[in-house]
Amino acid sequence: MEFNLIIALSFLFIPISLFVYQLFFGHILKHNTWYVSIIGIGINLSLALSFFYRVFHNSPDDHMLHYRANWLTTGNFNMDLGIFIDNMSAIMLVVVSLVSFLVHLYSSEYMKGDSRFSRYYAFLGLFTFSMNGIVLADSIAMIYIFWELVGLSSFLLIGFWFEKTSAAMASKKAFLVNRVGDIGMFIGIMMIYFVGETHSFNLSDIIEKVKTSEIDSTYLTTAGILLFLGAVGKSAQLPLHIWLPDAMEGPTPVSALIHAATMVAAGVYMTLRIFPILTGDALTYIAFTGAATAIFAASIAITQTDIKKVLAYSTVSQLGYMVLAIGVGSYLAAFFHLVTHAMFKACLFLASGSVIHSMHNSLHKLNDHETDAQDMMNMGGMKNKMPITYFAMLITTLAISGVPFFSGFVSKDAILAGTLSHYFDHGGITILLPIAGFVSALITAFYMFRLIFLTFHGKPKNKEIHKHLHESPAAMTFPLILLSLFSFAIFFTGTINPLSDGSKGWFSKAIGNGHNYVIKVDSHKADAKHDESYDLVHSNEIHSKANSNHNSSSDNLYNFTEHVAHGTHAAHYTAMYLSLLVAALGILLSVIIYYYNKINPNSFIKVFNVLKLYDLSKNKFYIDELYNNVIYKPFMFWSKVSSKIDWDYYDQKFIDSIGKITLSISNKSTKVDYDWLDQKVVDGFGKITHFMSLKLKKMQGGVIQSYILGGLIALIVITLIVKQI
């Protein structure tokens, strides 16, 4: 077996064996059991870095490893499993391993003393296994398998404290809502599977098929949107976003690992993997979903007071950004934002965990079980007590708000430039996409600084609680420091000039702009490129075709992503100044309201509440209530109606009357059977037999001499008869 393959497989086998070990033998080492896990994940991290090292030498089109093995064959159905590593998966492996490693480290303190400590580490191992599986998979069927596995581990970890009803409910909600998206994804997979002559789940085969065969554009669009529906569920996009804020019931390190950095990004990752088969219509749908999610979630985050809920909605909003970037064709920007977001959002969650941990300890000392440890209204002035947490959170907040020098600025800027260029290209209603992007950037900057000011600045809301606060131990602060370090732009762009084009660093060299996929449009459809199907052709083939045929058809070749990249370049400065402006505006607003307290937030509430905007946002736009009223209640109503029909009418009336008729017939037939058949016929035979027995009994006198006499007479008779013969 190839050495690389062994390394790649270790990404799966190390975490799964950690899972088995922690589950069955985790109790032996008590609290020290986490050392085993962190060593395993540490090995994974270093192996991931060994792949990552090669990213710098690889061009975006090359892949480092592609191994396929036949898994099962039944008749014409063939299923391969395989490992595929290119630059994108190598970077993703580092992100997953790094965040997983830091969360393992962080949890050793955060989860200290929990009665199910080893089970927690077991679930973390299971999650890391499944997430690595998604990253390494080379076929959509395999992605789907691991997709469900991450769903399972998410379910297990959200409901980790299942004694709390809210946690148990949240885990069920997360699982079921994801299920809705996954059904769509499964149908999409099957639709894609049956495309063309040869059927295959393999991603490269599928892309090859889509390129070469004539496929109905509606069919391909439907398949693409259905596949994307899986990402809608996993990445908490608009109609199915409701599970993610509730998922915050799980332990905070879990929120950092699964519900901020990696698993929710899996939807984006999967969409990037199937990017070449998405048609223009599907991309438009994706773009609008992302834009709507970004602005929608951001507007909810403004009014939330639970520190984790704010971060949860900001995650939904940022995921919306990534999806928007995919939709407008900014392939690079989407993945770039995925990686930078993973770093700073993991840090934000871990920092909030540090705050909550400290609050919990303080409340525990005060013997206070009423006060909510996660409510920002109970915090304030924590800056001096927890300096490391404060600075880590400040840096990452700057990053997410899009301030220069920080990673979020570069990646968000790339996305906004992409949306602008998309608008310049298409015009019309697509202006909504950049507007949504910029507005949510403004809102993001505002609510993130609101979070900082409410938590760390100002006067403590409660002196008693404040007195007992203290900085978290090193195992918790080290991940914060490291992750906040990675929130500086320099690690991604390799330049200290904040205004340089973000797409020039090593990252864009490694990922590319998706140049390898170009879109061929028939000449008569060239104007209607947005509405008609795109035929995707590998650029190399195009070049060779263009060279060999050198006819005018090369003019009709429309390099979609390259076009976007050029447009992005053109729109870059416009986007950058605009995004700087909105970030500054948002931060300024936040500083005025929450730092200097110049304006009372309540007056804002009154102004906005004229249109009930505040109430809408505070209550999350009543989406949960809407689902409750539109889906749950009618469903329950019809269930009750059908139950009534079934039980009260069908069961009670129809079935029971059949029972009653049967019963009366039985009574009649009992009479016939017992009184006549039994009493007369059967007993008659008995009586006859009895009578005969009584008669015959007399022959058995018990007097042997009479028997002998009988025998003698019989003998004489027989002798006489014999003699006659």
């Binding site: 009994k697 006198g701 018990g702 042997i704 001499q705 002998i708 006499l709």
Partner: protein, 103 residues
């Protein structure tokens, strides 16, 4: 009159007397005596047939009757033991009284 017939007549007379004793007598000892009579009538038959139907050197009939006498002795011993036990248990040797198994 043939000599053999005289012996056969005697033996059949003895047998009839024996069977009559077995059937009619109620005393167990008398029944036993009847059985002895029947056995002895059979012995007479054996000897008579041996004497009249084969040469003088053939002693098969005698041998058989010897066996029968030994058998009769053994049988009488066992039967008497049974009768004594019967008397011990029931206080009588009347066979009609011994009807324990009668349903």
């Amino acid at each position: 009159m043939n000599n053999l017939q005289i012996y056969l007549l005697l033996s059949s007379l003895l047998f009839s007397l024996g069977i009559y004793a077995v059937i009619s007598r109620k005393n167990a000892v008398a029944i036993l005596m009847g059985i002895e009579l029947m056995l002895n009538s059979a012995n007479i038959n054996f000897i008579a047939f041996n004497r009249f139907t084969s040469n003088l050197n053939n002693l098969d009939g005698h041998l058989f009757s010897m066996f029968v006498i030994v058998l009769a002795a053994a049988e009488a011993a066992v039967a008497l033991a049974i009768i004594i036990n019967l008397f011990k248990n029931l206080g009588t040797v009347n066979v009609d009284e011994a009807a324990e198994l009668k349903g």
